[in-house]
């Protein structure tokens, strides 16, 4: 009897939600922006090439100083680069290959990383031998897919193949909060730029993007319109929306305030999965890296592709815009 009541209530609630969302759908982003001046040219050139990894680059992260970046690779190495000079400042060999996640700490003094070892570890860059001062931050029951420092050097948020995300205290290695709700491997996460330390979004193989309240551990919003694995997620610079990149060859923009998908970035000729997404500073441009060697640049307000950036011989696996918006770095299989 109880089960029937519950099923009934679930159906009623779902219908009510759909109705509420429908009522607010009084405009269309792309249609509303038709009168906006289009982007006529995109003058983006390859300025630097960072060569040094021997295997596929799996993850990268910019430092807040806007010139250094960290990258990790299938070859088991973590490299710290000065993007202005292209010099490698640090090379750390991991105990594991397939280091799928890395993050630069806000102060620039540490890098966090992990992968098939199921662990998230932190390395102090100011030490002579960072590898000897390695510290374990947390362990999952499956691979570490992504990690980010939460507003300071003291907390790290991780996402794992075990379908959970966890917020860890670096000093004690304790779990501060865990986030359960994904029905598949978590592939990516991003912290809100406006609700610093309070909200983050995660996405994964269950085709969904979940928005979380970091204090309660609750999933407050769920978006599941993608048709395949979601590989990448990034907040819109204002914090009001976020974009996802998926194996279904589309990128989608979801607005948190209206609780729905507001735009889809796809083209008949774009057939390959999208692995990485990021916005330009104003949120006008969306950079998306795909499995067919291309970096597509989309006009966010018109859902039109405005440029295709080549310069990569292999799959674009990760990309990130510099914190001050002056450049975008994209890593392909063995070089930036």
């Amino acid at each position: 009897m109880e089960e029937q009541d519950l099923t009934g209530e679930i159906e009623t609630l779902k219908k009510k939600l759909a109705e509420e969302q429908g009522k607010l759908s009084d405009a269309d982003l792309i249609l509303s922006c038709q009168k906006i001046e289009p982007i006529t040219q995109v003058n983006i050139k390859v300025r630097k090439v960072l060569k040094g990894h021997q295997g596929k680059v799996l993850c990268m992260s910019w430092s807040q100083d806007k010139r250094h970046l960290v990258s990790t690779s299938h070859d088991g190495k973590l490299l710290v680069w000065d993007a202005f000079t292209t010099n490698k400042e640090h090379a750390i060999s991991m105990a594991t290959t397939w280091v799928m996640a890395c993050a630069y700490s806000p102060s620039g003094q540490f890098v966090a990383c992990g992968g098939l070892d199921n662990k998230c570890s932190i390395y102090p860059l100011l030490e002579e031998e960072p590898v000897t001062k390695k510290r374990l931050v947390g362990t999952h029951t499956s691979y570490l897919a992504c990690c980010q420092f939460n507003t300071s050097d003291h907390q790290v948020l991780t996402g794992s193949g075990d379908s959970t995300c966890v917020l860890w205290d670096v000093e004690s290695g304790q779990m501060i909060q865990s986030f359960h709700g994904h029905a598949g491997d978590v592939q990516a996460l991003d912290l809100s730029p406006s609700e610093s330390g309070r909200v983050f979004v995660s996405a994964g193989c269950d085709r969904a993007a979940n928005v979380w309240d970091m204090r309660s551990g609750q999933c407050v919003q769920l978006f599941d319109s993608h048709e395949s694995d979601v590989n990448s997620v990034r907040f819109y610079p204002s914090g009001d929306a976020f974009v996802t990149g998926s194996d279904d060859a589309s990128c989608r923009l979801f607005d948190l305030r209206t609780d729905r998908e507001v735009a889809v970035y796809k083209k008949e000729s774009v057939l390959f999965g999208c692995n990485a997404v990021d916005f330009s500073l104003s949120g006008r441009l969306l950079f998306a890296g795909y499995s067919d060697y291309v970096l597509n640049v989309w006009d966010v307000l018109k859902a039109k592709r405005v440029a295709m950036l080549y310069g990569h011989e292999n799959r674009v696996s990760c990309l990130r815009v510099v914190p001050d918006g002056t450049a975008v770095a994209g890593f392909k299989d063995s070089a930036a």
């Binding site: 109880e2 089960e3 519950l6 099923t7 209530e9 679930i10 609630l13 779902k14 009510k16 939600l17 509420e20 969302q21 607010l24 759908s25 009084d26 405009a27 269309d28 982003l29 509303s32 922006c33 906006i36 982007i39 995109v42 003058n43 983006i44 300025r47 630097k48 806007k66 010139r67 993007a83 202005f84 609750q218 999933c219 407050v220 919003q221 769920l222 819109y236 610079p237 204002s238 009001d240 929306a241 607005d255 305030r257 209206t258 609780d259 729905r260 507001v262 330009s280 500073l281 104003s282 949120g283 006008r284 441009l285 966010v300 307000l301 815009v321 918006g325 002056t326 450049a327 975008v328």
Partner: protein
């Protein structure tokens, strides 16, 4: 038994989502456009650099020996 507890969780989740305050899409679009307009000038990848030397990634000019 497990199915019931899962359903209870789903009901809880849906109730919370139903209680969420939402804004109409038109308002969100307006705010997004305001944001893009405001940030446009500082977005180098859209508006470019005023001078070549403002670009930190630009190769510095070479010298020629006379």
């Amino acid at each position: 038994m497990a199915a019931i507890s899962q359903q209870k969780k789903m009901v809880e989740q849906l109730r919370q989502e139903a209680a969420l305050e939402r804004k109409p899409v038109s308002e969100c679009v307006r705010e997004m456009l305001q944001f893009v307009e405001k940030e446009k000038e500082g977005d180098c990848l859209v508006t470019g650099f005023a001078a070549k030397k403002d670009n930190p990634f630009q190769e510095s000019g070479g010298c020629s020996l006379l």
